[in-house]
Symmetry: C2
Subunit: 269 residues, 2 copies
């Protein structure tokens, strides 16, 4: 799930991640399912996609929250998002309770990327409110949106401030497990953790750098930002976490931790 105010490049990021226009901004036909709760102005769009990577196929549900936080009064604007997450836990629980469970579909949210506006200052009150509510229900991964807005030193300061607020506010964010059998995986996890919150840049454009050689990036009059250049942003690290090294952990921990939390609350435990 991608979550955050309008204009932070969430849709672009999804397209960048799956290297194809899975979502289009304007056409309503791409919006397969629309979930609108009592608060009409936060529509939740679900795009279903099949990701084929080498030997495996993943059925992906990408959940976008387009209209978020854009109103004059944003109080309770998080309710539809929270309702949605709880609904998925609820319907999974109901399926689990069926005598026949062989068609069980898992539509629960396994990872929620929370997009932070790159002000250079700190987290906004609204960010804190929402992240607190998300963190108890889903694997929360805060990311710094449009990080090409920040110079290297501004980014470092911003990351530190965000980490401090997350800690002070006791917000539980997803952490790749560190106790792993091989030192290379443990080292990779350590690097992922040190980079958090990930600085994200997205692009739907391929730019020709030398004749015939294209890179995904954003072309400015003063230079070319490369999405897959680790000196430019943390896109590669985030992609690796989501689609390679930690995909299984994100799915399992949703079941073992977040679902169980929900289930015990529901069952009055």
């Amino acid at each position: 799930m991608v979550c955050g105010e309008s204009g932070l490049g969430k849709t672009t990021f999804i397209n960048t991640l799956f290297q194809s226009s899975l979502k289009s901004y304007q056409s309503a036909s791409e919006r397969h399912n629309k979930f609108t709760s009592a608060h009409q102005n936060v529509d939740i769009d679900i795009v279903r996609a099949i990701l084929e990577e080498k030997n495996f196929k993943i059925r992906l549900n990408i959940i976008d929250t387009p209209g978020f936080g854009n109103n004059v009064n944003n109080h309770d604007s998080w309710t539809p998002i929270i309702d949605f997450i709880d609904d998925q836990h609820e319907s999974y629980m109901k399926q689990e309770q069926q005598p026949s469970r062989k068609d069980k579909k898992d539509l629960r949210v396994h990872a929620c990327l929370y997009f932070i506006r790159p002000t250079g200052h700190s987290l906004k009150p609204l960010d804190i409110e929402i992240m607190k509510r998300l963190s108890t229900r889903v694997n929360l991964i805060p990311v710094i949106a449009k990080s090409d807005t920040l110079s290297p030193s501004e980014l470092e300061t911003f990351k530190t401030r965000i980490r401090d607020v997350i800690e002070a506010q006791d917000i539980n964010i997803y952490t790749p497990p560190l106790e792993l059998d091989d030192p290379a995986s443990a080292e990779h996890s350590k690097q992922l953790i040190e980079a958090m919150p990930f600085a994200v840049i997205g692009s739907e454009e391929e730019v020709e750098v030398t004749p015939g050689q294209f890179v995904r990036g954003r072309k400015y009059p003063w230079g070319l930002v490369e999405v897959e250049n680790e000196q430019h942003c943390d896109f590669k690290k985030l992609r690796s976490l989501l689609l390679r090294t930690n995909m299984l952990d994100l799915i399992l921990s949703t079941n073992e931790f977040h679902f169980e939390t929900f289930r015990s609350i529901k069952m009055g435990g």
Copy 2:
């Protein structure tokens, strides 16, 4: 006056405009006057400065609105800003009515730069609400903040969308007079108008481009954004409007138009 939400580079812009650290972010000692209205969380800071340019001295009051629009509920967050502008008209009117007017101080706001977040989408509801209220009281100059966030094509689209909304919402923005005696000034005015809303980039850093040669700009791993490069942003045009070609018009029109509007409302006319 600079107006807009926190984190849009307003303070940096002021420093860039006057090429010296007129304002500092942290030290309260720089805040000479604090105007807080009933709404405590929008402080208005006034920094008084003397700008010396060649043969003249200008006494400048720079009014910053730091905490704006950052709350969960921003309803009425514009009230302190509007009150402030009205207060200046009010106190000028009172002075005018004194028998002795020789010490008359003009603290009215002659130009208000409204900073727009560079989402790439369109104006937010809050922007429209505030700009409407500002436009009837002060010379309103909307600017696109941190425009290095936008690629050239995104910037063009964004400017068009903003202009469309301004027109549709009937928001009166400051326009340099076009009927001028010499063709060069008229051409300059035309170019200013065509560039609106101005794309602004600010920086407190001087970057060495060649040994001994410094430019004001933002250094990224992928290139150097130059504040005074007209291919990079409209800073030079805006500075020219504010401090050279249109300074007198901004002052006179505040007196002839905005003040008279206020005065007639107050006097029940």
